[in-house]
Symmetry: C2
Subunit: 372 residues, 2 copies
């Protein structure tokens, strides 16, 4: 007789072969009753029974292992606790729930995803979005957080490549089986992830990519990470589906702005405008949003230091009272500032030495446009 | 003997000659005691007395009138009530307060500024910022709201030109006297405003532009308008000073995003990121923010209609279950959707007619990448 934990794992393998990924009614039943009980009930169903009996879970696991896949289920050491939040998150159009398990290929343990960051966006990214996604992902990866994305064209690819460029592991969550290669042109990328990071899927090994599976996959990207950054997304981009899941799951949602003239930034701008997402412009800002309170707090960016900053208060007051275009006498400047003429004149000479004001027959005036 | 209202106006002209614009202590005293009383007290001062007595307010007004200037003071029909909010707004570094009056050149009445919008930003705007500012200003002007800016290079200029292109009046608030031309290359622009819009200043006629006056001027741009839009601003741009005044005055503050790689958008991004400003991407969104509750409410932008949108629910379910890359049998698709094989097959044929799926020896698959 098998240990109960093994029975649970085997039941989950069987149910994964019968039901679509993210089928909320089934997953909720499993959360409530346990996988063994749900499998047994389906086995008693006249239509589904034969299909349940037709699955040999041990053979499935052996075959998966030969493809380098492991099946991680609730209760395993490496089970990422973030996924359990899906049990408390209402389904959308029948999709939702804690996955039966995740098929994983690659050395990164799923419990290492604690604090990971999803970087997602449009498949048809611009070169701007591509550059920004790479830079953000590299900065996030250098800070020791794992970058998670979907291995698609565009922003997904740029995010993975940014992390790789930072010599850091990165994780892809696929809509097809974790042993499959989709899109085919990302074969090298996926092969790299399987050696240095991880390729994850809720879909059974060999399962095909289809639209409904991209949508259920998106909930996992949101749930596995502490926050989601949307780099570029048009108004109906699939990345906004991931963004919605991040919000539903109480994860941090962040958006990178772009030109308002760029259709691929319109969806991100909408998220920021409505308050759903926090605007971020750098990896450092992403870390600030995600950190424990105060952990990564940034010194608010200030412009570069200007000559003005090195002045005394009196010099600055005098400088501010010097006309931009026409000249003024020392006495006139003194009156505006409320200083004696001698004191104002001394300050003007100090400013002249610094090249900030000049004096000619018209009087004192600013040496350059110092007022912006 | 003059009517009291004239005595007040004359006292304000005199005080304007004695004190710097926006000198909070003086303006607060005027708000509390009245201009006549404050002038009389200054006239009794051994140092300032001679200067007070040296100003001939009637001559000042006559000379101003010959330059086409009028002096609008509290109590005048056209006095813009928004300025009175400055009486309740704490001064910053001694600058603040309700102005003694405004010198105005041009046909637009100041009370027409009710509902006006300030469009401000960097003097060193990019062509992107310039284009966006023009477009926003034109849209705002077409909606019947007056665009207010500062007649500087860059965003200010683009804002005025956008409104002019929409055949609408636009108003400039200057740091120098309203009769002066600064910057000189904007002589044509200012001449146009004096005929079709208005040029406004708190600074006495003939007064020079100086840094401190730009800062006090900024409070007027914020106070005269219902909201301020910052189009491009580097981290220490003067436009952020106007933004701060808008916030202090409880005006709507809006920011237009740009590429995160553009230094001239960094100040705007900071305003949005911290929640000080609402992100806006179009004139319509500006109007939505400024409108009475619900007045300009936009239909949330949706992407363009897609072929998917015209499908029945059943067709859509079937489409979502068709693999992206490899083929699937009708029976397999039917099982995923939970339909009978015949019904699924019928839907697949309907989708094939629409060119959305295709069938070959491998089975059914999507005809194109329909999943983004």
């Amino acid at each position: 007789m098998k240990a109960p934990v093994d029975a649970d794992r085997m039941a989950r393998v069987v149910l994964g072969r019968i039901a679509e990924p993210g089928k909320a009614s089934l997953l909720d039943a499993v959360s409530e009753l346990g996988a063994v009980e749900v499998r047994d009930r389906l086995a008693a169903d006249p239509v589904l029974g034969p299909r349940v009996d037709g699955v040999d879970p041990e053979r499935e696991l052996d075959r998966a292992a030969r493809s380098g896949l492991r099946f991680v289920v609730p209760g395993d050491d490496e089970w990422p606790s973030g996924l359990d939040d899906l049990a408390r998150t209402p389904a959308v159009q029948e999709r939702g729930g804690v996955p039966l398990g995740l098929w994983v290929r690659g050395p990164v343990r799923l419990d290492a995803l604690d604090g990971a960051v999803a970087v997602v966006g449009s498949r048809s990214a611009t070169t701007y979005g591509d550059d920004v996604a790479r830079g953000l992902a590299a900065d996030i990866a250098r800070a020791g957080r794992i970058v998670v994305s979907g291995a698609a064209y565009g922003i997904d690819q740029a995010a993975h490549r940014g992390a790789i460029a930072a010599d850091a592991p990165t994780v892809a969550v696929l809509a097809c089986g974790a042993d499959k290669v989709y899109p085919e042109r990302h074969a090298d990328l996926l092969a790299h992830l399987a050696v240095e990071g991880a390729v994850i899927s809720e879909t059974v090994p060999g399962g095909a990519a289809m639209r409904v599976r991209f949508l259920t996959r998106n909930r996992l990207i949101a749930a596995l990470t502490g926050g989601t950054v949307v780099v570029e997304a048009a108004l109906r981009s699939g990345a906004l589906n991931t963004a919605n899941w991040a919000t539903r799951l109480n994860r941090q949602l962040m958006g990178v702005p772009g030109p308002v003239t760029s259709a691929t930034s319109a969806g991100v701008h909408q998220l920021v405008r409505t308050g759903a997402a926090t605007l971020v412009t750098s990896g450092a800002e992403v870390l600030e949003v995600l950190g424990a309170a105060g952990e990564h707090l940034l010194v608010p960016p200030r412009g570069r230091e200007r000559p003005r900053d090195t002045l005394t208060d009196r010099q600055r007051l005098v400088l501010d009272a010097v006309p931009v275009a026409r000249g003024a006498t020392s006495a006139s400047v003194a009156r505006i500032v409320g200083l004696g003429t001698d004191a104002a004149h001394a300050a003007l000479l100090e400013l002249e030495v610094r090249g900030m004001v000049q004096c000619d027959e018209g009087g004192w005036r600013l040496a350059a446009l110092a007022h912006d």
